[in-house]
Amino acid sequence: MTHTAIAEQHATPTWEGITTLKFAWWLFLASEVMFFAGLIAAYIVLRAGSPTWPIVQEELSVGLVAVNTFILIVSSVTMVQAYAGIETGDQAKLRNMLLATAGLGAVFLGIQAFEWSELLREGTTAQDSLFGATFYTLTGFHGLHVSGGVVGLIFVSLKALRGGYTQAAHDGVELMGLYWHFVDVVWIILFTIIYLI
């Protein structure tokens, strides 16, 4: 059954084959992209305009955070598998993959918190350098978005455990997935421009 047919069956408002909900969700994600775009553009301009900048590979734990990047990518895989699960009516797969995604998200946050604590211990603060200010702002806002995502995943997981999603109706899982992948995409960009360049 096509998505349009399912939507019509449930009398959900649609436009151009998309439900209003999904359309609005994408607009929300687009606004979030603009939010990060502003921060990233500021970082690029500040860094390019600075006469000196610390050697990133010496200041930050690139190896550890590379592993963390891998963890977030795996969490995107588990999220998409959760969605694939409910698309075929596999409740167990939906449940397990949602919980796995939430767990991996929490691990990501834990490692980020560890990275922050190490940097603070070494004396890198947001107040005393542009490097610190941009680093903590960018990773901090991303971390907040991941935290929000983990909270969302807990809600979606609880609903899944109650049997709240079916093969015919699982919009919430799709939207949760879209948000989670967005958070992953932002990190892919941030990891590259902060840790590698």
Partner: protein
């Protein structure tokens, strides 16, 4: 039923393999090409490739209509436009 779900999984796991590979290449480039002028454009290209893979396959954009794709792409174009004036400013001050 199981064949259907395995078939539905294939692009996801292949995309995952590419994402891991691209990440490994990125980290390698960062540590190996430290003095090279090609480093920054190459890393940006790799990051964009990874982001595009997640957007196209995990966020399903490859199979969605023009409207959603336009909504998804537009902020990136807008971001570049927004970042250009300060970029020119930085270049002019050098």
């Amino acid at each position: 039923m199981s064949t259907h779900s395995t078939q539905a999984q294939r692009p996801y796991m292949r995309v995952f393999a590419f994402l891991v590979l691209l990440t490994v290449v990125e980290v390698a480039v960062a540590f190996v090409l430290t003095a090279s002028a090609a480093k920054v454009p190459l890393l940006i290209a790799l990051a964009i490739a990874k982001a595009a893979l997640v957007a196209m396959y995990y966020m399903h954009l490859r199979f969605e209509g023009r409207v959603l794709r336009a909504i998804a792409v537009f902020p990136f174009i807008l971001s570049i436009l927004v970042a250009l004036p300060p970029a020119f400013d930085v270049l002019a001050r050098r």
